[in-house]
Amino acid sequence: MTALFPGRPTAVPILALGDTLLVSLQGELHDGMAEQLQQDISRRIADSGAVGVIIDISGVEIVDSFLGRVLAEIAASAGLLAAGTVVAGMRPAVAITLVELGLTLPGLTTALDVERARELLAQAAEPGTWDRCQRGT
């Protein structure tokens, strides 16, 4: 993935679907881009009043401890801004690898795909249900 601006990685686009933000991560993600994304999402939530964030990682071939931490921190800061985060579409090989790496990301809500992530967030929009969703019940 080459940057449009040499020396500066291109930003990851954030799409708005109603009151939900959708971010689709693809291929190689440079560390700097991941950190930029965290700031961009927080700002977009604050500006737009979005109540949900879906991060689609179906196009991501590996999640290492750095990207895992960034995902967890995005979810944590979105939570403080009153938005729920669902990570969607993790590849099976990535899930197996994360467990062996020792990174099970207990604070992260996941869904098999974006559609299911939207359903989770819609359920969560009913008062009091988000905590139950996060506990997986």
Partner: protein, 148 residues
Amino acid sequence: MMAVPGPVTAARLPIRSDADLAWVRQQVRQCAADLGFGLVQQTKLVTAASELARNTLVHGGGGHVDVTPVTRGVTRGLRLSFADSGPGIRDVELAMTDGYTSGGGLGLGLSGARRLVDEFGIDTVPGRGTTVTVTAWAPGVPTARPGL
């Protein structure tokens, strides 16, 4: 994605920036695919390489990785040797502990990478630098099953 099994040659890749980390991941994945590693094995090895390359960059102040195809009998494997001339690791046993971190990370880099590969070695001299060498083996030739 159809990886055509081809000759895998030894290479030395620099680790000096974010972009180099991405390049190391891509090269390791390509080599592992060429050597016949399965998808889960490729993912584990690339993840381990990413952790170790980041250590080289963040803790070692940069360095390089030597990517070398190896064989043991009929089994093919890939050896990765990450070298830096940074401050070294004073207490290797402590650095290998889950959750121990000196750089603000999650402390899973070394201990996690070790679990993702078949062989793991670390050579470090305080003040001189660190070399971490890992090897992963492709699944061997399947044993013949009677009746098949």
